[in-house]
Structure formats: structure tokens, C-alpha cells
Subunit: 270 residues, 4 copies
Amino acid sequence: MPDNLALARLDLAIANRIVSVEGIIDAFGHVSMRHPSRPDRYLISRSRSPELVEAADILEYTLDSEPVKPLPKGIRGYGELVIHGEIYKARPDVNAVAHHHGMAFLPFCNSGEELVPLYHMGAQIGPKVPFWDSRDEFGDTNLLVLKPEEGRSLARALGRHWLVLMRRHGATVAARNLTELVFRTIYSYRNAELQLTTRTLGHPLSPLTPGEQRLAWERNLEPRPQARAWEYWSIRLRKAGQYPAGPKTRAKPAARRRAAKTRTARGKRR
Amino acid sequence: MPDNLALARLDLAIANRIVSVEGIIDAFGHVSMRHPSRPDRYLISRSRSPELVEAADILEYTLDSEPVKPLPKGIRGYGELVIHGEIYKARPDVNAVAHHHGMAFLPFCNSGEELVPLYHMGAQIGPKVPFWDSRDEFGDTNLLVLKPEEGRSLARALGRHWLVLMRRHGATVAARNLTELVFRTIYSYRNAELQLTTRTLGHPLSPLTPGEQRLAWERNLEPRPQARAWEYWSIRLRKAGQYPAGPKTRAKPAARRRAAKTRTARGKRR
Amino acid sequence: MPDNLALARLDLAIANRIVSVEGIIDAFGHVSMRHPSRPDRYLISRSRSPELVEAADILEYTLDSEPVKPLPKGIRGYGELVIHGEIYKARPDVNAVAHHHGMAFLPFCNSGEELVPLYHMGAQIGPKVPFWDSRDEFGDTNLLVLKPEEGRSLARALGRHWLVLMRRHGATVAARNLTELVFRTIYSYRNAELQLTTRTLGHPLSPLTPGEQRLAWERNLEPRPQARAWEYWSIRLRKAGQYPAGPKTRAKPAARRRAAKTRTARGKRR
Amino acid sequence: MPDNLALARLDLAIANRIVSVEGIIDAFGHVSMRHPSRPDRYLISRSRSPELVEAADILEYTLDSEPVKPLPKGIRGYGELVIHGEIYKARPDVNAVAHHHGMAFLPFCNSGEELVPLYHMGAQIGPKVPFWDSRDEFGDTNLLVLKPEEGRSLARALGRHWLVLMRRHGATVAARNLTELVFRTIYSYRNAELQLTTRTLGHPLSPLTPGEQRLAWERNLEPRPQARAWEYWSIRLRKAGQYPAGPKTRAKPAARRRAAKTRTARGKRR
């Protein structure tokens, strides 16, 4: 299905740029998705900042994080590919992954303070946010997740959750599809910002109850709020002059809408 | 009066976009106004982010939050319409309502710390800002205000005030007209930002006296400051390339000015 | 000297816009200068937000804050003109005044915490920053400075200083000329931001010694740093597409440069 | 090598603008590099704000901070040149220097709180960040580093480190080449922002171990992350419409790439 793959690459470029323009990813960090028709592969940009990614930059990798085709001369892949590959291996329900060092997350990554859901959109952090510390298994490193065993260790820490904080490093977010990934990356970040600000008031935090967290989480993932948020972020991207160049099929709105439906449906089926 | 209605829809699109571009509403939240000639109806966009709303997106609802005409195929309304409908029912003096999750309000919504007026523009929070907690009457929910009884409960909590904080959710602002709504939404937000910052200094807060609050509130609602602020925000919107597309009558500045007068006068008469 | 007056009006529009675009003044606040050749008059915009002021909006007032010519139909002046008029009366060495409600100043206006100079640019707050509280002499008001006696009271509080904080309201900045006014408005604001941030660390503040404050103040007001900062802010204004429309004389760079020299020299003579 | 010098001037203008547009340098501050073929000289702009610097503004100085050619009429150099000259003299391994008053650094400069590396990118502050206080040797001054002995004193405080905090003033950053300078200026700043935010949570900080700091530092300086970050910041500069005008050689991408390689290689050799 070449059309689907071309649209997936464009969508992935859009997702890369949204989380950058909305202020979460800077020069470093990366966003991937599982291949739309080959679940044993994933798609991710060549090594460049997510804000700059074009559809043409998207490469295919096996779940062992080996490139499916040899990379063209002069092209390099990201160093931390195993974050993505090992999570896709361990979690068949995950179809999209983002790794970032967002400045509102890092105080939690550094201090070890637990993230808790403080408003209904913050329910997207999930019922629990585990921590991973490279020091526990690997001692002094450059903090990056470079070796397969480091990736597997991180995937184990993520477990069946959707967000894992990495001590002195950053965060990794997982989702059933690309739309949910962008949604969860942004709203987990807003909740972190909120927790930072609320803490300055000095009162005890009032987190959502487990029941509220679950109900709000489910509501947020319904098609209407998902579509509304995606429209909002992608139009903002376009207005900011940051929309990626795309395949010719973009010119056929009907095909595009069908593909978008597929994208949402794919997530829903799982 | 088709012209008045067309202008009202354009003004409502402008108001939606101002509170978004000024940083208070993101993908979610909504802004409505009472129908200019049918007080038993209100106007509000179809379900989309306020920053994107066009005059053509504005739909008419009864105060029971039923669409006056069946929605076109593929068009959905907002989920939380009853916030608007139930407040318009309970408060004949209210002609415009905004609901948002602004990040500077949420720490108060979470912690329950009372908002107090800290400078003359902050007088726009009103003499008192009540709280509403969905948990009190409805237990664990997804936090949204979806059912008529939830909307009525929120309207009761608002009472005769102009702003109500919703625990672990956001805020709802009421006003006599659209200009005042934008004004109050923005300046109540600035006061919340100020309270957050002032609290970090660790001194006791020095709120306005009740007399100062009342006198500053009245002054702020006079035609001159209202017109000055609306001019400021709407020109900023235009300069940011975010002005909505509008009806042809926009091309007649004289008619536009008359309508603006009507808009202010309408607020004043009540 | 009609040319000088035309240039003064353009410069004043630029100054109004710089302090807005740099984030200090929003819809409200105002910036004035003494008339370039009639020290018994001052120039200030008609009532509109400083970010929008054009040279054509600048009106002339006597020091009693009476318009020199009747205002055109439909044009209104600012409400708080006496802030400017009474300071120009009381301080012949002051030739430019700004009044604002900048969000980094307001925590000090509310709490009464003293502003102290924390870095060399912060020396521009002056050796001491007095407070004025409308409540002391006038009891409950709408906080605005509307009556001549209120303006005189504020001018007395300013005394021989260059910045006065107004409790629960904002700040008024004075300077020898327009360039210095913009400079002092911006760098006193940066010092307030710095004091807010430094305070969160919980250490005692390390202010400049009186000698350091005086030496840094004098250095900052030398022609080179003044010209460098004015070039920076005015080019930023132009790049942001916010430069005011001006008189035709702007097209003559040589004349413009001479006028700029006059402007600086004028300040220096005092 | 006129081409190399022309490219160096363009690169230096780009570096000046990047650190400004990324929010670290405002009207004041300056960025220099050692002459590409004459290590006894350095390049720095005439006195103007770094955000405005063009390649044509770059002047040559001896390490005694004397201009190699008399400055053109009306052109002035920066006041604090000795910061650059004295560091180049004392540190043959340093080929680029930035001096700034970034608002996230100043709370540390004021309070004397030690900067510590809190995430892998923050490793770029180096193993230790020394302080310099002009008061220690020179008593009350205007805080600026104007005299050769003041520059030498600062260079001694920097010692063999790469960043020195200047009490009540700002910071000076050193690097082996221009790319590293921009990288270190930006990521040391992000680490300062992070330390400020983390401190508000009230937990003990969890800095990198010395081993982690060293390993992350080395990794960050490898060609791939250095090239990726430079691409990111320079494309952002271009998209923001802030790219400097440059020499004609910019039109030859191949030559440009070769020069970039030289630039990186130069740093690597040391």
C-alpha cells in the first residue's frame, strides 16, 4: 500500500513538528510510528531535529533497530533508536512513541517527584508514571539509551503504562496511534507545567481519583476530542509556516480524509 | 434582523479567537453569546477549537441546548453545551459565557485557594469567586459538564457572581455582553497570574478593599476602557493574521460602527 | 520648529510601541514626552493602547493637562493625564514619563516588597524606589489617578527619584528624555523579573552597593549604550511589523540622524 | 585565505543572532571568535546588539584588544573587549567566547548559588562553574570589565573551565569553536532554567555524577549532535527571517559544506 505509507510518512513529519512548535521538543528528541502495514517495522526520521523533519526524511527500521535499506551516503540515523524498537517489541498495542527532554518534565525527572493528574486533560499521564534510572543497571553512562539492553531495560520500566520518566534525562511517551501520541505528549506536558505551578502555592495537591482519571482518559480518547485537537495543532502548524512538504496525494482531500479515518480506526481497533 | 445576526456571528468568532491568541484557551474551551434578538436562544461554534472559529461555524441553540436546526451532516456540537444553556436560563442578565482551562487558573481550581483582586484590573474577578466541585453531587465523573443537571448545578454555584472555578477542571466566566466577556476573561486571568507570582514572594497578599473592588469594576466597564481594550485585542488579532473571515457587511465601516454601538448599548441597557 | 515636532511625535509613537512589544504595557498604560520647544506643554496619544499609537494620534496638553486645541469630535484623551502633567510641573528635569501595569512589577506593588538593583542594568531603578498608596490620602477609590490632587500626591511621592511604585495599581517611570525613558522602563522591568526569580532560590539578595549603583547608572546613560539599545528595540519593532506610520521627513535619513542627535543632546544638557 | 575569513565573519554573525533569537542575549552582550588563520587576532562585531550583527560588522582585533585597522569614522567597538582578548591570550585552546546577561543565569550570579548539571545536556556547564566578583579586586565599579587588568582577573577566574559566572553582572562562556560555543551557551542556559524550576519543588537536587557529566559532555561534542543542533538553530534563524546578509560564497553549498567541515575539524584538532 504505497499510498498509505506515503501518508504515514507525512503524518509522522507533521507529528514531529507539532510537538516541537508547541514547545516540548527542541534540537533533540524523536518521534516514531509503527509501519502502517508491517507491524515488524517502524518509521522514524533520519537524525535531525523533529521541527525540521520532512516526509522524505522518514526511514524504515526493523524492531531490532536495523535500517531496512542501507542508509544513503551521508545520512545518519538517531543514536537512541532502541528506545523505539524495544518498546514496539515489548508492546504490540503501542504504535507510536515519542522521546523528549521537555523543560517542564525535567524537574520531575531530576527530583523523582511523582507526576499526578491534576485536571481532566492531565488524565492523559495514565494511572501511574513509572521512573527509570540508567544508573541502576548500567552505572555511570552518558545517560543516553544506546544499547539494546538499555532499550529493553527502559521498556521493562514502562511496563504496561504509557509514559516513563527517565532520571536526569527526559521522558518517553507511548500511544496506540500517532494522534493519541501527540495528544498525550502535549497534555501530559501541560499537567507537568500545572503541577510545577500548583506546587508553588504550597497547598496539598488534589489529584483526580482513580475513577476520575480513568473516565477522563477514556473521554479524551474519543474520536471527537481527538479530531478537534489534531485539527487545532495542525492548523497552527500551517499558520506558523511550519507545515512539512508532503507527497502529491496530499492534494486529494478525499483520499486524505479516508487515510485519517484509517489512522483513527487503527488505534480504535486495538 | 439578519445584519445584526451576521455581525453577532462575526463578533463571536473574533471573541473566540482573541481569548485564544491572548493565551487563555487552547484546543479546548468554548465561547458563546445570547442571540441578539431572541433571548431564548444562544450562539456558539460547532465543535472546534476557539482559535479556529469562523463566523460560518456559529450555530443557534435553544436554552435547553438543542440545536434550532438539525446540524449539517458531519457537523458536531460541543459536548459541554449545558454550561452555556443553563447559565443563560438562570441568569437573564448574562449575555455571554466563556469556559476555559487556562493554565494560570488551574492551580486555584486544583488547590482551592481563593482568588482575590490584587490590582485595579483584577477587580474584574468580581466581589467573590465561588468554587464548584463535580464530585460533590455527581461523584466520580470524567469531570466534564455534560448533563443538564450538571449544568444546572454549575449555574447554581455561579449564583449571582461572574466567575466560577471548577475543581480539577477549569473556569466559567459570565458577562453582560461579548466585549465585557473578553475583558473579564482576560483580566481575571491576569489577576490569577499575578496572584501566583505574588505568592512566591512569601508576603501576605494585599487585596483591594470591597470598596476599591466595586469602584474599579465600575470604572473598567465604562465605554472608554471597554472600547480601548476591544480595539487593542482585535487589532492584535488582525496583525497576527488570525482575524476570522466575515460577512460582506464588514466592508461597510459605518454599519460596523453602528453595530458595535448596539453591542455596547445592549450590555448597558441591562 | 514644525520638523522637530513632527519627529518628536514619531519618536513618541515608537517609544509607545517599543515598551508594548517588549512586553511591559498591554491594553492600558501611557507614555508621554515634554514638548520639544515648549516646556510648558507635553505630548501624549489620544486614548488608545500604546501598541497602536501612530504619530497622528499625539495631542498637545498644557501642564494642567488641558488640551491645547479642542479635541476633534469622537476623540477622547486618557483618563490619567494628571500623572504626566503634575510630574512635568514638579520636575523640570523630567522630559518623558511612562505609566504601566507590567506584570513583573505588580507583585512588588501589591506586597510592598522593596525593589533593589541586582545587576548592572538594574541600576536603572535608581538609588531608591518609593511607594505611593492612593488609600493613604484618598481612601477607597477606583485606584486610578484622575484628579489633579491625586496627580500632585503621586508626584510628591516620586520626589527626586525616577520610578515610583503605586500600591495595587502599577508604576510610573520618569526620565530626562525619551530614549532614557524607554531604557529605564525596560531595564527596571528586567530587574523586577530578576528579583522575582532570585527570590525563589531562597538566598539573601546581593544588591549593588550604592557606589556600584551610581557608577552603573551613569555608564548606562552614556551615548553609546543608549544608542545601541535604541537601535536594538527600534529594529526589533520594525522586524515585528509594528513600526508606526510617520511623517514624510522619515525619508530623509540625514535629517533623521540630526534629530536623533538633538534628542540625545537635549537629555544630556539637563 | 579570504574565503575562510569571509565565511568566518558570516558564521560569527549567525552565532550572534542564534543566541539572541533563542532568548539569551538582549540589547547587550557580545560573541567573538579567534581569527581562522591568525591565532593572535580575534573577530568581533562593532558595538551593536548581537541580534542585529551582519558579517560586514565584524572587526579584527589583536589579543590586546586593539583594532587591527583604525575603525571607520562613526564606528565604535564594544566597551568590554578585554573579556575576549584576555581569555584568548590565557587559553590557546579557546577559539570562541560569548558574554551575556541571560535572565536565567542572573539569579545564580546574584545569589552565588552553584550551578550543577541536572540532565545530560546540562553537562555542557562543565565539571565546575567558578564565580568572579569584580568587588574582590576592584571594589566599587560600574560592574563592566573594561580595563586589561579586569579582563585578566576574569580570565584567571575562568581558569581551565568553560563558563564563569560574574557576580551581579552575567556570564562568560568559552569553547573550542563557534559551533560548540553556541551549543554550550544555549544548553548551559537551559540547565540554569532547569535548576531554577527544580528548586521550586523543594527536593534536594540530583546532579549528574562526575562520570556522567564527563561522558555526556563528550557525547554532546561529537560531530553528529553538534551538526544536528547547528542545523536546527540556523534553520530556525532563517525561518524567523533573522538570517544575516552574507558574502556571495554562501551561494555555493559545496564550498559552504567544506568550510563547515573545516570549522568542526578545527575544533576537534585541539
